[in-house]
């Protein structure tokens, strides 16, 4: 009997919680799943066309998404806060070119016909990584510390 009461209590609590959570959901319409127009080659500058105040979903100035050199190098912030804004132009496979968790070749080889893209590990990186790793191993860690380490563990045992 007591067990039934406890279950009823938690059932009511869960139902009320769910109702409350639903009432908290924004009534706004979702923004477009895909960018309505092609953006062409090269790095797009969102603010060139979007001159209005803030983007609909992210509520940030469109300039915050301009693909400048700084944006390309530090896009982790946007990926954390606005992944669905990224998804309106980029398929997930675009991310996997470099952040594939396990990849069969370094991004610079995969994208060797697109030298304008920021592909890490150009040239003889096997030599350079010994230097970069001593200067700042935390820069290696974000990709190789938790996932993509098949090659690392051959030597670093």
């Amino acid at each position: 009997m007591a067990r039934k009461s406890v279950l009823q209590f938690f059932g009511i609590l869960f139902g009320l919680g769910l109702l409350m959570a639903c009432s908290l959901i924004s009534p706004e319409t979702s923004f477009a799943a895909t960018h309505p127009e092609g953006v062409g080659a090269g790095r797009p500058m969102c603010s060139e066309c979007h001159t209005t105040d803030v983007s609909k979903g992210a509520l940030k100035p469109y300039a915050a998404f301009d693909h400048t050199q700084t944006f390309v190098k530090s896009h982790k912030y946007q990926a954390t806060q606005d992944a669905n804004t990224c998804a309106s132009c980029h398929a997930q496979s675009f991310c996997a070119d470099c952040h594939g968790a396990k990849v069969p070749m370094k991004p610079a080889i995969r994208l060797s016909d697109s030298p304008d893209r920021l592909a890490p590990h150009r040239g003889d990186y096997l030599t350079l990584h010994k230097l970069e790793g001593k200067m700042d191993p935390s820069s290696c860690y974000s990709c190789h510390g938790r996932a993509n380490n098949d090659k690392c563990r051959t030597c670093h045992r």
């Binding site: 979702s30 496979s93 380490n149």
Partner: protein, 460 residues
Amino acid sequence: MKRQNLVALLATLMTATAWGQEVSLYGTTMAQMWKSETVGFDKATYTPATQYLGIDANKLGSDNLSLHLFGWGRTDLSDSSNLDGSKSSGYLNFGYLQYRFNQANAEIKAGRFTVSQGTGFEQVDGVSLRTDLRGGFTFSAFGGKPVLYKTVDLDSQKDYDFQRDVIFGTRLGWRIPKVGEIGVSYLQDGTKAAKELPIPSSVDYTRKQMGVDLLIAPAPAFQLRGRTIFDVADHAALPAGTEKPSNIAEHDYTAIVKFGSKVTVTANVAERNFYAYFAGTNLPSLFRQDEKDKYKGYGGSLTVSASANLQLVADFRHMNRESFGDVTRVGGELRYASTEKHYMAGLGMRSVSASKTIQVDPTAPGRSLSHTELRAFTMIERKRLSLSLDGIVQQYKEGNPYLNGLTSLYEVVASVGFKATENLKLSGDISRGSTPVAKDETRGLLRAEYRFGFGKKGGQ
């Protein structure tokens, strides 16, 4: 995930594409070839063939339901090019069903997907959801089984697989129009910490993190972005007398100021405490928590858009690692892109000065990490034909302990592409270079990229 479960998941997901009204299949087939002849070793010929394949199937019965799959497989047609001696390998990078709601930018994903939260880019076999809430709040959460990777040996592997049993996380954000966004997140990977095992292990593969991420963007001309990550796991007790390291894993903040439409200045400051930052690594022999080392860096960049087609970037960074000392890096890049982007070119240089390095080679610290890198590239597109040339030279100090007596390394990659149709591109590369292992190295690569179907995204 066990192999049979993975096959069942893949088969189910693949079958689901049959209901898709907008199915897009895309792939890249790559064939590489190089030979090596190293003194003291047998001659070897390497011809790995790699296949990337992805499927995006939209409108699966409902306009809002879609399926996304992407993975790769490779096999060596002659000698093994994998360092472990195996001749074939493959991987499912992601495979998930996604339902996008028409309201509140809400979505649910189920299957294998990636999550960018905390210090990592987590792969999860599970479920995730996100939604906008009233008042500018956003909520996201995920949970499931973490995708497991290899560790250095079988014993560690058992321990690693046991500890990383579940992964879950959540983030609550608050967006204020014309001000910015602040978010608080939590991530837990594994529930069985090393010290709680029946036979306590010295290596903890689990982690618990809290994070705060911030964006202040009151106007298009100014942004401040950054995050702080805390390691909130309860680690094994340190030896008596050892100073307790900080549990702040990372501070990383960047300010961006635009002066008109032509000049942008950025400044960054970052600090990482390895004891907290490297918590949970599956390669503890390399990313060593026990060093209790710390990295501090600051720097900035100046970007000048001299015209609509020409951009100049100059950057500077000073880095300090407690155990190795100071390093300063300066660099610059000049980029040109024609209005229609049919012609692009770039020229870059960076120089690293390590005269204050205290390790590696204490007798001549300046030569151990110091180097200069020069890079130039050009790309031309004419109708269906594309050409690119990319060259990089790395110049090291004489007597560098890592260079086998060399001081200069280079690599040049020439690529020719032909777009046979809108959905099929064939290209071939030849690269030539030098490394401390191979004084001359020539490699060939053939690539076919293709796309079938009606999808609007993918690969972009």
